[in-house]
Amino acid sequence: MKSMVIGGIILIVALMAGTYFVAGDAFQSDDYINSLTMLGALAIIVITVFTVLKYVNQIKNDTASGELADENWDGIGEYTNPIPSGWGLIFIGSIIWMLWYFFVGYPTNQFSQIGQYNEEVLENNAKFKAAWENPTDETLVAMGESVFLVQCAPCHGVDAEGIAGKAQDLTHRMSKEQVLDVIKNGSQGLGYPMGAMPPMMAQGADAEAIATYVAGGLKGEAPASFAACSSCHGADGKGMNGMAPNLVDYDNTLMSKVLENGKKSSIGEMPSFKGRLNETQEKALTSFLNSIKAGE
């Protein structure tokens, strides 16, 4: 018996420790749901082990006794023993708990899960207000990374390189093929004040030269033909304060326009994230993308 008790305790401790060890990273003790779950898990195993041990003890040490009822089925008889009093008391206790839960814990006429949700959101927003109010650059980069990994990585990949051409490679502003594609087919849908970009802005060697220049990050001497672009994107290619996309860097304007409207090109289509991220998170994404720019 002693060894069984010890065995039971070892099982309980091992299970709880194992759970805590593995779920530890995700365990946040300020989330009461986590704490209640751990408590519940503990209750399951402790109550079961000790109740069973109690009866095993009786199997070991007691003897069967009682008055037999008259009936007998295929050799099976039944004692008329009274019900175990502990069982009866806990049964009544559980009914009392039931009434409490139904009328006090989650009162039928008052509790609403949507109300509970609204409270949770308010509480959450209050808690992170500080992080969102005046974030430092480092905070923004870190925040951006965490948003990116959850929301964007399924398409752009955890390394943001676009999973072998399945989405935009975000470690570069644009590739040469992409620029050529835009020059040929134009671009639309982002909602810049300049509206849509018309197709066929340049051709042949001109287009090639422009594309090489833009894809190269607009460094060095601009080819003469780039004049066709600077009327909208500015001589420096930075988009004239948000009139057209910045071709040099990912900036906040581009980010918020892409997230608002989504984007579709020869690579594929990016969905809109309208209403899913707050302003700070959008800014954070820009900072993050600029922090991972390749080759610089």
Binding site: N124, C155, M270, S272, R276
Partner: protein, 221 residues
């Protein structure tokens, strides 16, 4: 003792049945009285989307994917607005699922796109390394059953009054009309896809399962 009931087994069965049926009467029936009303903007599925839904059911995607966003911030941040009863008014059967081996798909149409699904369904691990989702290359060659989808739409319209053909609602019409509409919707989707055999099939008037499935996934918003 109180063996008297156990000596009348047929009466015992009646008492037993009433005890069992009691809860159902109180808990289930009232909800039937007030059929869940569709929320504003909820529409029945088009024939193509229904065909896609049948593919989803055939391959039991609901074994791994839920379609029920619970009202917790962690879920609304991940999947979007929590679910409302009326949004399911045209879901027969409901597809809430009971296990999230994969993510919830209730609003996947909001944050994934045709080409992404195309890549993902062909080979999930090529898009999301470490995933446990099976690849579904057979969906690119199997042809979707538009006729059965039409049969279902026709049935729910006739039997349950689902408002096909009503103002602002999807058109159903005759089988031929429905097939033509499905083809038109399929062409739009195939245009955003890259797989050549799928494009060819659609050009030849056939709808591969993947096209119907994507139509369905895109409709989940």
């Amino acid at each position: 003792m109180f063996h008297w009931l156990e000596q009348k087994p047929f009466f015992f069965a009646v008492v037993l049945f009433l005890t069992i049926a009691f809860a159902g009467i109180i808990e289930v029936i009232p909800d039937f009285a007030k059929q869940s009303q569709p929320t504003v903007g909820t529409k029945p599925y088009t024939t193509l989307e229904l065909a896609g839904r049948h593919v989803y059911i055939k391959d039991s995607c609901n074994a791994c994917h839920s379609q029920l966003i619970r009202p917790f911030k962690s879920e609304t941040d991940r999947y979007g607005m929590y679910s409302l009863s009326g949004e399911y008014a045209y879901d027969r059967p409901f597809l809430w699922g009971s296990k999230r081996t994969g993510p919830d798909l209730m609003r996947v149409g909001n944050y994934r796109t045709t080409d992404w699904h195309e890549n993902h369904m062909m080979n999930p691990a090529s898009v999301v390394p470490g995933t446990v989702m099976p690849a579904y290359p057979h969906m690119f060659t199997n042809i979707a059953d538009i006729e059965t989808a039409y049969a279902e739409a026709y049935t729910v319209k006739a039997v349950f009054g689902v408002p096909y053909d009503a103002e602002g609602m999807p058109k159903l019409g005759t089988l031929e009309e429905a097939q033509a509409d499905a083809m038109a919707q399929a062409k739009l989707i195939a245009a955003d896809m890259k797989n050549q055999s799928v494009k060819d099939a659609v050009a030849n008037g056939q709808v591969p399962e993947i096209v119907a499935l994507i139509a369905y996934l895109n409709s989940l918003k």
